[in-house]
């Protein structure tokens, strides 16, 4: 089944307390290479049949109006998931 992926990230200027907590935990486990962590959200929208331009446009609108809040978040990606990646 075709899948549209929507990725939403907190805006760069918005403090991301979850990401900060993860960044604090990483070096405690020996992962010292990572300076900063930002935590976002990934949505997978499953589509019955073919993903038309119109359906993709609907996904973009839904991403802007429901899946993200423009005050604190950016939609960084709306794309059809590659089938080979989906079945992997």
């Amino acid at each position: 089944m075709p899948t549209i992926v929507v990725d939403v990230m907190p805006k760069p200027e918005i403090l991301d307390p979850q990401g900060k907590a993860i960044a604090g935990a990483l070096p405690r486990l020996g992962f010292t290479a990572f300076e900063q962590v930002r935590q976002g959200k990934r949505f997978e929208l499953h589509v019955e049949g073919e993903v038309t331009d119109q359906i993709l446009e609907q996904a973009r609108t839904a991403a802007a109006e429901l899946l993200s809040n423009p005050v604190i978040e950016d939609v960084v990606n709306v794309a059809v998931l590659d089938e080979s990646e989906a079945s992997a």
Binding site: P10, E13, I14, L15, P17, Q18, N69, V71
Partner: protein, 264 residues
């Protein structure tokens, strides 16, 4: 909605001009504080009216109401973002229309959003900004001191300007954020209604605990006035344990506003 008789309470008769005011209290799936909010409405001298989020005739249900409270809780489990799904309820469309939309209006329906209700009001774009997780990531529950910085809104006119009050604060996503121009605009227009005192409990920008729309009829705040309205249940004060009643003036304020013929 039934509200039981308080064990301890102020039974003095409210002013006659306040009798008959009907204040709606909205319930969403996951709302927790609707019964407390209804009780606060009753203790202030008005009649609480239960409102359901999915009401098919939401506009009709609001018609003979004088004000609306959107209470706290975890509507839709805070899924997606706090308030993000509740915002699309038919009742919210009706409330937004009755309140006068984003700009508000001096004749608009007074609306008070508490905690999750504040989050729903920001998601609805009735108030600017948004709420993110507390900067320390912990759920917080404490009695919180606030300064009343604007006592000219529909919900604060019974406070003195700059009055220090203490009411409970209890939330996980309580950090108020907005971009700098929005914060400057809020400060410049006197729309910061409440500011945290002594300590910033959640990292909120500029210690902001509550704000209003331009017209002053829509107010949102994170702390809970409805939990400080009757002796025996409020925050501790110098007069004794659980004697704090600083939440009551929120609810009497809107009655004063109505009695004087409109929003502040």
């Amino acid at each position: 909605m039934t509200t039981e008789i308080p064990l301890i309470g102020d039974y003095s008769t409210p002013g006659t001009e306040l009798n008959g005011a009907r204040i709606g209290v909205v319930t969403f799936p996951g709302t927790l504080d609707d019964v407390d909010a209804a009780r606060a409405v009753r203790l202030s001298g008005a009649t609480p009216v239960s409102l359901w989020h999915a009401d098919e005739d939401a506009a009709g249900s609001l018609k003979d109401l004088d004000a609306v409270v959107i209470p706290g809780g975890f509507s839709y489990g805070d899924y997606l973002r706090a308030g993000a799904i509740a915002r699309f309820a038919p009742m919210m469309d009706a409330i937004a229309a009755a309140a006068g939309g984003e700009a508000g209006s001096t004749r608009g329906l007074p609306v008070l959003g508490i905690c999750n209700g504040f989050q729903i009001l920001t998601e609805s774009h009735l108030l600017p900004g948004s709420m993110i997780k507390n900067d320390h990531l912990h759920f917080i529950c404490r009695d919180q001191a606030l300064a009343v910085e604007n006592n000219e809104t529909a919900w604060t006119r019974d406070f003195a300007p700059g009055q220090r009050i203490t009411i409970p604060l209890k939330n996980q996503d309580g950090q108020y954020v907005a971009d700098e121009p929005t914060l400057d605009m809020l400060e410049g227009e006197g729309r910061v209604v409440f500011r945290y005192l002594d300590v910033n409990p959640n990292g909120s920008r500029r210690d902001i605990a509550g704000i209003t729309n331009a017209a002053g009829n829509v107010v949102g705040l994170m702390p809970h006035p409805e939990h400080a309205v009757e002796p025996g249940f409020g925050p501790d004060t110098e007069h004794g344990l659980r004697t704090g009643l600083d939440g009551l003036p929120f609810f009497t304020s809107v009655l004063s506003t109505l009695a004087s013929g409109g929003a502040a």
